[in-house]
């Protein structure tokens, strides 16, 4: 056993509760403290990740094809898709806002699909990034994932607010529902991921990384104390 390989609950013949961190003898089915189902390593984790990932991708396609916002003004009626709305903003010299919208609605969702797929594949195959980097990636995906919902809220706010009889009115398009579903599905994909799978491969990855990878972190069986 190499230096950075900490003793895990599984190594000790125990099973840990991921919800409340209590440890139980292997073979127990439910946590006696919080009632959560106990699995040393969730064997169904990856198939659930992929199922939600595919569902999210399938919802993301119509989210880009159908209009997100339907704007009626005195002179015109326009139906804007996510990308179409951003292009319109560029034509109106609002490049900054267009970039924000493109990042929130196109960049982040696609980045999430790539990141979750990479993490799921990295559990089955040797990975280029070490466990620490991949753990950070998962944390970022879980954190940013929720923020994609901002676009749905903006559509809801505009639709509720801009109802000025004949002067201007904004209504939501079908893409709003598809986009919301896509965000929810990718959040569920990230939540389904069992992060312990990333750390289980640390030994194999350290070998693939070469000597620098091995000395990168040192873990002992006591937690670090830290000033908050």
């Amino acid at each position: 056993m190499s230096g950075e390989e900490a003793l895990t609950a599984r190594d000790a013949g125990l099973v840990a509760c991921r919800r409340c961190t209590r440890v139980w003898p292997r073979g127990r089915e439910r946590c006696g403290r919080c009632g959560a189902r106990l699995v040393s390593r969730d064997p169904g984790s990856l198939s659930r990740v992929w199922a939600w990932w595919v569902a999210g991708l399938m919802a993301y396609v119509p989210a880009n094809i159908y209009p997100m916002l339907i704007t009626d003004t005195l002179v015109s009626r326009s139906e804007a898709t996510i990308v179409g709305g951003a292009i319109e903003l560029i034509q109106h010299d609002a490049l900054g806002i267009a970039i924000i919208i493109l990042i929130a609605s196109v960049g982040i969702p696609i980045g999430k699909f790539v990141a979750v797929a990479y993490l799921a594949l990295s559990v089955q195959n040797p990975a280029r990034l070490n466990a620490h980097r991949r753990h950070h990636l998962l944390e970022v995906v879980e954190y940013i994932g929720r923020w994609s919902m901002i676009d749905v809220f903006v559509v809801a706010i505009l639709s509720a607010l801009v109802q000025l009889s004949v002067v201007a009115r904004i209504d939501p398009g079908p893409a709003a529902l598809a986009f919301a579903l896509s965000v929810v599905f990718t959040m569920l994909a990230a939540q389904a991921f069992d992060p312990r799978l990333i750390w289980d491969r640390i030994e194999a990855d350290a070998e693939a990384d070469g000597p620098e990878g091995r000395s990168a972190d040192e873990a002992g069986p006591t937690p670090r104390g830290e000033q908050a």
């Binding site: 599984r10 919902m149 809220f153 809801a156 000025l164």
Partner: protein, 221 residues
């Protein structure tokens, strides 16, 4: 450092396993203001704070009051060419009214109002007896579990940023201004972040363990 044979011999109740990387440690409760961090992956395992329970209950109360207030006041006002309109949270949540979009209305209402209020109420229910050193109330464990499961689905803070984006988006169409509910949501964002940062989950579970057993004993006696 504890050696590994020692860990093997220890009772499971004396141990803690990192939920991220499964590393096993002997529980050593750090002093107030310090944190026990997983040496392998950096996850914060235990982080006790002085009087955290009481502060969290206060923040949860603030969440309930602010959210309920924010539901009834308008958060954005719009005016253009003599026409004006203002929107409350309820208007926004019910913006998607036809057909399948109705589902979206209910989801928006849940994400920005129902889930944050439910989490705050559950937190108050779980922590109140513990803070006053009383046996846990019935169902406290299920309540805390549900509050934890709801965490990622509480999106009041994202909605607050959404208001700002909406303001920019229709800037050339009409004049927009923030109403009182917007500022309530802005405060709420800070409150919710603090509430999550101050909560020491391990300590709550550990105390619940003890107090639920105590409640069962007093019920028998």
């Amino acid at each position: 450092m504890t050696d590994q044979t020692d860990l093997h011999a220890a009772e499971p109740a004396e141990l803690i396993a990192c939920p991220i990387c499964d590393a096993l440690y002997r529980v050593e409760e750090p002093a107030h203001g310090e944190r026990a961090v997983c040496a392998r992956c950096g996850h914060v395992l235990i982080a006790p704070r002085r009087r955290a329970g009481m502060s969290i209950i206060m923040l949860a109360l603030a969440t309930v009051i602010l959210t309920c207030g924010a539901v009834f006041f308008p958060f954005l006002r719009i005016s253009t060419a003599g026409f004006g309109n203002s929107a409350t949270i309820l208007d926004t949540a019910l913006a998607f009214t036809d057909g399948p979009l109705l589902v979206l209305s209910l989801a928006v209402l849940a994400l920005i109002v129902l889930v944050p209020v439910a989490r705050a109420a559950l937190t108050i229910y779980v922590l109140s007896p513990l803070v006053f050193d009383r046996p846990a109330w019935p169902g406290a464990i299920q309540a805390f579990r549900m509050s934890e499961a709801l965490q990622p689905w509480s999106m009041a803070e994202i909605f607050a940023i959404g208001c700002a984006v909406a303001l920019v988006k229709v800037a050339d169409l009409a004049t927009l201004e923030f109403g009182p509910a917007f500022w309530m949501f802005a405060v709420l964002t800070v409150v919710i972040v603090l509430q999550d940062r101050w909560l020491d989950r391990w300590l709550v579970w550990n105390t619940l363990d003890r107090e639920v057993a105590r409640a069962a004993r007093t019920a028998r006696a």
